[in-house]
Amino acid sequence: MSWQRRLAARAPAAVFLAEAARIGPVRETLALVPGIRLVDTPRHASVLLVAGVIPTGWRDDLRRIHDQLPAPFASVWCRCEPFEALRNPIRIDVVEALPQGVVETHRELMLGKRDSAPRLLPDEPPNPWEGLGDDGHGGEGMMGGTPYGRPMAMNMQDDRRDGLTLDTLTFRLGPFHSALPPGLQAEVSLQGDLVQAWTVTRKPFAGVVEPIFHAARQSSVPIAELELARARHHLHRLYRGLWLAGWPTMAERALRLAEKLGPNSDVAGLRRELERGGLWRLALPEPGRGVLDEAQARQLGGPAARAAGIDADLRSEDASYRRLGFAPTCREAGDTAARWRQWLDEIEQSLSLAGRAARYDLKTAETAAVETPRGPWAEGFPHDMSDLLGEVLPELEWGEALLTLASLDVAALDPLPLANDWRTGFAEAKREGSP
C-alpha cells in the first residue's frame, strides 16, 4: 500500500447524491457530517449515493450518472434496489448509518479493499454522428445536419432581452441535477445566458414533509412541534438556496440552526448576516424578476402565495392558532427576492408561535385543514406545479433562473407519510429542542 493511497483515504468522501422519491432530508443530514463533502457533479465524486425509491423511468438516467463517476468509485444504495449488474452493491437502509457507511466505502476504495464499480453502459456517444456535407460539417452552406444529436446553428428566434439575436443552445438538465428538484428533467433553451424556453420533460418526484403534518390530519398535535417542523422545512430550503447562491458559510449556518431548532432559537442573527452580506442587494435577482401573477401564486399556494400578497393560510381557520393571535405574514412583491424574504418571515413567525404554544401546551384544533410548508392541505393537497417553471423562468438570466427555481416549491406533496422509523434523529432533535 502506497503512502499516497493511505493519505487519499483520509480525504473527505466526495459524494454525489441522487435523490429519488419518498426520502426525507438526506442531503441536509449528510451536509453537516464531518468527512463527507457533497458535490454538484458526478465527475467530482468518489461515491454515488442513491437515496429513495427510483421509479422505472428514471433508472436509465441513473445508469448514465453512475458511469460518469471517475474510477475508483462505488455506489451506495439507501432504501432502493441496486442495479443487478453491480457485483457487490452496498445497501444501507438506515439513514443514521449512512454517514459512516459512505466514509467507510471511500476508505475501502482508496485502500484497495474494494474494487471500483463496473461501467454499466457502453462508452459511446448517446447520439450518432450525423454531420452532412463535404466535410461532415453540415448540409447547405455552413449549416444543417445534427452532429452528435445537436442541431447546427440555425437560429431565427428573436432574442428576449435586447434584440441581439444569438444562436440558441438547447440541452437537457436533470433528472438528478443537484440544483433542480429531485426527479425534474427540463429541456432548456438558452440564448447567451438568457433562458429562452424551459420545458419540463419529466415531473419532479412528490416532496415529503415531516410525519407530524400527516399526523395533524389524523388527530390534534402539539402546535410547538408542528411549527418547529415547518421552520425546519423552510431552513432546509434556505440552505439549498444559499448553497446555490454561492454562500456555503451561510448555507451551513442555516442548516446548523435547523439541526438545533427549538422554540428559543433565534433567526434574527442569520437574517442580519444575510442582509449585511448583501444577499438581496448583490446576489438575488433584482426586484421585479421572477414575479408570479395572482393566478399562478394562488395555484401554487403556501409561502409563494403569501409572498405575492395573498393572505391565504389554513392556520387562521384553526381555533388554537387564533388563540395565539395568528395572522398570516405577507409580502407584496411576489418576486424571487420577496419569496426569499418570506422564508425568513415564516421561520420567525413559526418560532414565535412555537414558543408561545409551548408555554400553553396548545394543540391544533383542526384536522380537516392543515397548512403544510408546501401549501394548504384540506380537501385538495398541493399538486405538481412544475409546468409553472416554463412560464416564470424564460427571460431570466441563468443564475437568476436557478435562484428563482430554488424559491419555488413546485413538486407535489406526497400524501402518504414516510415510515416513522425512517430517521429516529428527528424525534431526538425535537425532544432536545423543547423545554
Binding site: 454531420g131 456535407g133 463535404d134 466535410d135 461532415g136 460539417h137 453540415g138 455552413m142 452532429p147 452528435y148 445537436r150 442541431p151 447546427m152 446553428a153 432581452r161 435586447d162 434584440g163 441581439l164 444569438l166 444562436d167 443552445l169 440541452f171 447567451g192
Partner: protein
C-alpha cells in the same frame, strides 16, 4: 552586439511556432480554434519582438492580441454556439482566389525583404522604446491618434445604441415614440407624417429595430 546562441535558438523556435500555428489557422474546422491558433502565432511574433529588444511592443502584443482574439472567439461562440462551437464547420472559402492572393502577397513582401535597401544604423545605447513611443503618441502624431481614438469610441457607442432594442422612448419594436408636449398630445419633435406613412406605422417601427 552579436546575439548569443540562446537567442538564435529562441528565434528559430518562435519563428517556427509562428509559421506553424499560422498555417494551422487554415486547417482547423472551428472558428474558436482558428482564432486561438492565430493568437498563438501572434504570441510567437511577440516573443520575436522581445528578442529584437522591442520589449514593450512584444509584451503589448501579448496583451492586445489576447483580448482581441478572446473577444472575437466570444462573439463567434455567441452567434455560433452549436454547442460550444465544437461542431466542425468549414473554415475556408473561395480557396482559389485566396491561394492566388496569398502567393502574390508573399512574393511582394519577400521581394521587399530581400531586394529592399534597409538603412543600417545601430540604435543609440540609451534608446528607450517606451519613451520614444510615448513621445510619438503624444507628440507630432497626437492629433492623428486622438482623432482615430475618438472616432472609434463614437463608432462603438453608436453600434451599441443602434443594435439595442431599448431606446430613449421605449422599446424599438413596440414603436419607440417620444412623448407629447402635453399629455396625450402629438409626439414631440417629429415632422408631421403624411396619412399614408401613418398607415404603415408597424413596418416603420420595425425598421428602427434593424
Amino acid at each position: 552586439m552579436t546575439p548569443s546562441l540562446a537567442t538564435h535558438i529562441a528565434f528559430v523556435v518562435l519563428a517556427a511556432l509562428a509559421v506553424l500555428s499560422g498555417w494551422r489557422v487554415f486547417c482547423t474546422d472551428s472558428m474558436v480554434r482558428a482564432s486561438f491558433f492565430l493568437l498563438l502565432s501572434f504570441i510567437a511574433v511577440g516573443g520575436i519582438m522581445i528578442l529584437l529588444t522591442a520589449e514593450y511592443l512584444g509584451v503589448a502584443m501579448f496583451f492586445m492580441m489576447a483580448v482581441e482574439m478572446m473577444v472575437m472567439a466570444l462573439f463567434m461562440v455567441m452567434f455560433m454556439m452549436n454547442p460550444a462551437g465544437l461542431n466542425p464547420m468549414k473554415m475556408v472559402h473561395q480557396e482559389r482566389v485566396a491561394i492566388v492572393a496569398g502567393v502574390a502577397v508573399f512574393g511582394v513582401l519577400s521581394a521587399v525583404a530581400v531586394l529592399g535597401d534597409f538603412p543600417d544604423m545601430p540604435l543609440p545605447a540609451e534608446h528607450a522604446p517606451v519613451i520614444s513611443l510615448g513621445r510619438e503618441l503624444l507628440g507630432d502624431s497626437m492629433l492623428v491618434f486622438e482623432t482615430a481614438g475618438v472616432v472609434l469610441l463614437t463608432t462603438m457607442v453608436g453600434v451599441v445604441v443602434l443594435s439595442s432594442r431599448r431606446g430613449r422612448y421605449g422599446r424599438a419594436d413596440e414603436g419607440s415614440v417620444p412623448p407629447g408636449l402635453e399629455p396625450g398630445g402629438e409626439p414631440a419633435g417629429r415632422p408631421k407624417e403624411s396619412e399614408e406613412e401613418k398607415g404603415e406605422e408597424g413596418g416603420h417601427a420595425h425598421q428602427h429595430h434593424h
